[in-house]
Amino acid sequence: MQKKLILDSHLLDITLNRLCHQILENHTSFENTVVIGMQPRGIFLANLIHKKLELITGKKIPFGHLDTTFHRDDFRRREIPAKLSETKIDFIIEGKNVLLIDDVLYTGRTVRAALDAMISFGRPAKVELLVLVDRKYTRDLPIYADYVGKYVHTLDTQRVLVELEAQGHKQNKIWLINNEKQ
């Protein structure tokens, strides 16, 4: 198994700052914006972005977690049902600008499920997608991210591993891993 570092702690911080300022450009007033992290791994990144945005704007921005499991399209098609996580959205989505956050964008199927799951909470005015890593040319569905931390070209056999301090890792590191078949 080979590992290649794509982003280290320092670079990640620069990237996150850039993403936050890009968001600011599009959401001058954050009056109507809410941030939603996708379970299970997107919530850690979403938390970082959310904190930074609140710091920069000095405003309180609603923040929630969304679990997409019940809306996945591979139910009954995989050996073991996907593990459930908590959905926690204590605000109204109806009419809001939603910033949806996940760590890695791969086939786009999870994002499709998230869009579906979100509609159960109301009709948002607008939905934008932010991902830390966009694996280019791997999409199964016509889904595109509005804000991207880093584009990487990957093969099916490769995997992107996001290690964040909030998940219990020593340092923030993003890896590209080769799972070559033996």
Binding site: F70, R76, F121
Partner: protein
């Protein structure tokens, strides 16, 4: 681990503590779903489920049907009273005919103990036992234990008394299995004629005095006298049963502590439970009904999700 150890839910006896905990965790998520403005998820949209009821039921059947609809499954309902069973068709033939219409899961209630176990040996579809005679009623026990967990945090070491007609109650047996597996202490209480002879072999405490049982327990699960299953007289009259074993608000108020009062329904008001007790703040009877939908959604979801 996010998969049950079994393909069917035939009884609590057959499943593990890990299975029960997985069902509870899943039900937590579904309880959240059914309290949203849009109470439906699309998970089971390509699954067809037949509810086959050879015995009467209100709560269980409605609860299963609602759970199935909330999961977007296709549902067909069958009750024996207006079917070909009356014309002499066997159980296996009836079910095989339903399965020939491409049904994936069967929820069955039957008056004979072991009917779903027999079926599980002969058919491919997943089977959920919704009550078999005086044997087991697994989803009721799961929702009872889930309601206790919700009220008390967990079941480890908790004192639960099951009071009433233990002999004819499938709810009692399934509850004993579930509560013991989750580490609770279980007491059964009722007239000696309505306690099975070998009940102590299940590791439960036996108490004949209902007042002592109430003083001992943190949760009292009160059961109905099942007159429809009683071929002989087990006690002189319902009035006498009510005098000796009926629970009223005065008894609850006289206790040194707050206890949780449960009942699987249907309640015979004025027999095992007086109206003032059933409607008191002690009672979680309607919470049990709400939790029933979440628990059944969890069981259906987990069984349907594991590919064969």
């Amino acid at each position: 681990m996010s998969k049950l150890s079994q393909r069917h839910l035939l009884g609590i006896k057959n499943i593990t503590r890990e299975d029960i905990e997985l069902i509870f965790e899943t039900a937590d998520n579904f309880k959240q779903v059914i309290n949203r403005p849009i109470k439906k998820v699309p998970s089971l949209r390509d699954v067809t489920i037949a509810n086959v009821f050879f015995e009467n039921s209100t709560r269980t059947r409605l609860s299963f049907e609602l759970a199935q609809k909330r999961l977007s499954a296709d549902v067909i309902n069958f009750s024996a009273s207006n079917s070909s069973v009356k014309k002499g068709e066997t159980l296996l033939d009836t079910v095989n005919n339903i399965l020939a219409m491409k049904v994936d899961m069967i929820v069955m209630r039957h008056a004979s103990a072991g009917a779903p176990h027999y079926l599980a040996k002969h058919i491919k579809a997943n089977i959920i036992n919704a009550g078999d005679g005086t044997h087991e009623h697994p989803t009721q026990a799961l929702l009872d234990a889930f309601s206790i967990r919700e009220k008390l945090g967990n079941l480890e070491g908790k004192k639960i008394a099951i009071i009433g007609d233990i002999l004819h109650s499938r709810v009692a047996l399934s509850n004993i299995f579930a509560l013991k597996k989750l580490g609770a202490q279980v007491m059964v209480c009722g007239p000696p004629t309505l306690l099975p002879k070998f009940i102590t072999s299940l590791g439960v405490i036996v108490e004949l005095d209902v007042k002592k049982a109430l003083e001992w327990c943190e949760v009292a699960n009160v059961l109905r006298i099942q007159l429809e299953r009683q071929q002989i007289k087990y006690f002189p009259s319902l009035r006498e049963y009510s005098i000796y074993y009926g629970i009223n608000k005065k008894m609850l108020a006289g206790l040194k502590k707050e206890i949780v009062l449960m009942h699987p329904g249907p309640i015979n008001r004025g027999v095992e439970l007086s109206s003032d007790a059933a409607d008191s703040t002690h009672s979680v009877i309607l919470d049990q009904v709400e939790n029933g939908v979440a628990i059944r959604m969890a069981v259906l979801y987990l069984l349907a999700g594991a590919t064969n």
